[in-house]
């Protein structure tokens, strides 16, 4: 049920996709893993869209060097837990949604609980080890996962829908070297994050067709968005049995 105030707030997008879709969005629960460069932009857009519940998982605190791209935070937030600040600020942006801060690190022991009651997971993490913990849990629990990653002027997105296409392990059978202090700027993280948002919207609502089976590459300099075919590997240790 949408209130009069919500109908007014969302009126311009209801013109685009209708009230039924807006109601569907309100019933959705999305987990955002990492509320950094990708995660803040994803979260702001999902909040504006009217997703009913946003679960914000991040163990870290805001640092000054985050502020060039982590657009939810300000100088006053330095030293504060990202998940808590993000939850509060998103609620200010859209008081009609619920935000659930989870200021913890995603590990093998808690990942199943984190993903079990959500409709979709956004991988906005900054390290591969945790990404694969998340990927395994999503495949096991049959929860769609939208991976995003950036490096310099480039980034990539992979939509993982268990049983319907490749998972992250199909693309990276061995963990890539862990990045340390990747060079990055807000327009690249924003470009990649917005593609994650669009793919999330399509999966949640059934509007359009999610980009399954293709790695989406973003090149901010050319500029270009390109697709590379990625097939589910019959030998993938994570998803070959799904």
């Amino acid at each position: 049920m949408l209130t009069e105030l919500e109908l007014e707030r969302y009126s311009r997008q209801i013109k685009l996709f209708g009230e039924d879709v807006q109601r569907k969005l309100k019933r959705c629960r999305v987990l955002i893993a990492g509320v950094g460069g990708l995660g803040t932009v994803v979260a702001m857009n999902l909040a504006a869209l009217g997703i009913g519940k946003l679960v914000l998982v991040d163990h870290d605190v805001v640092k000054r060097s985050n502020l060039n791209r982590q657009l939810l935070y300000s100088e006053d937030d330095i030293g504060k837990p990202k998940a808590l600040v993000a939850a509060r600020r998103l609620k200010e942006l859209n008081p009609f949604i619920e935000t659930i801060p989870v200021p913890t690190r995603i590990e093998e022991y808690n990942v199943s609980d984190l993903v079990k009651d959500v409709d979709i997971v956004i991988d906005a993490l900054d390290n591969w080890r945790t990404r694969f913990v998340l990927n395994e849990a999503c495949v096991r629990k049959n929860v769609p996962l939208i991976h995003g990653g950036v490096n310099g002027f480039y980034g990539q997105v992979l939509v993982v829908v268990p049983g319907r296409g490749p998972c992250l392990r199909c693309v990276y059978p061995s963990n890539p070297p862990e990045p340390s202090e990747v060079p990055v700027t807000s327009f690249v993280t924003s470009l990649v994050a917005l593609i994650q948002v669009v793919e999330c919207f399509k999966i949640l609502t059934g509007v359009g067709k999610p980009t399954i089976g293709k790695m989406i590459f973003v090149n901010a300099l050319e500029p270009s968005i390109e697709f590379v075919e990625v097939r589910k590997s019959p030998a993938c240790p994570t998803c070959s049995r799904t």
Binding site: G39, L125, G148, G149, Y172, S174, P177, R231
Partner: protein, 94 residues
């Protein structure tokens, strides 16, 4: 019938700036199929970057027709006429 293996190699992200090209078509005549290593060797600047100590370097992802090379034999993966190879580095930041 002329036997030839014709393969398209595409590179992505900073590899384009590094190598100065987006894609190349490689032709290996006299064969019905080749190995991934044979194909990569046709482009020495790519081979030198991507192959270290006889294996694909951990900083690069190499796909043969949509499957990661590691799942289909690594540098011995079979490449057929019309196959497509994609090479890209992982972007791990968030």
């Amino acid at each position: 019938m002329v036997r030839i293996v014709k393969v398209k190699i595409s590179v992505y992200t900073y590899l384009r700036e590094k190598l100065g090209w987006r894609e190349k078509v490689v032709e290996i005549p006299g064969k019905d199929q080749a190995t991934l290593e044979e194909v990569l060797k046709q482009v020495p600047e790519l081979y030198e970057l991507v192959v270290v100590d006889g294996r694909i370097a951990e900083g690069y992802i190499v796909f043969v027709d949509g499957i990661h090379a590691q799942f289909v034999g690594g540098l011995n993966a079979v490449v057929k006429d019309g196959s497509e190879i994609a090479v890209f580095p992982p972007g791990g930041g968030g």
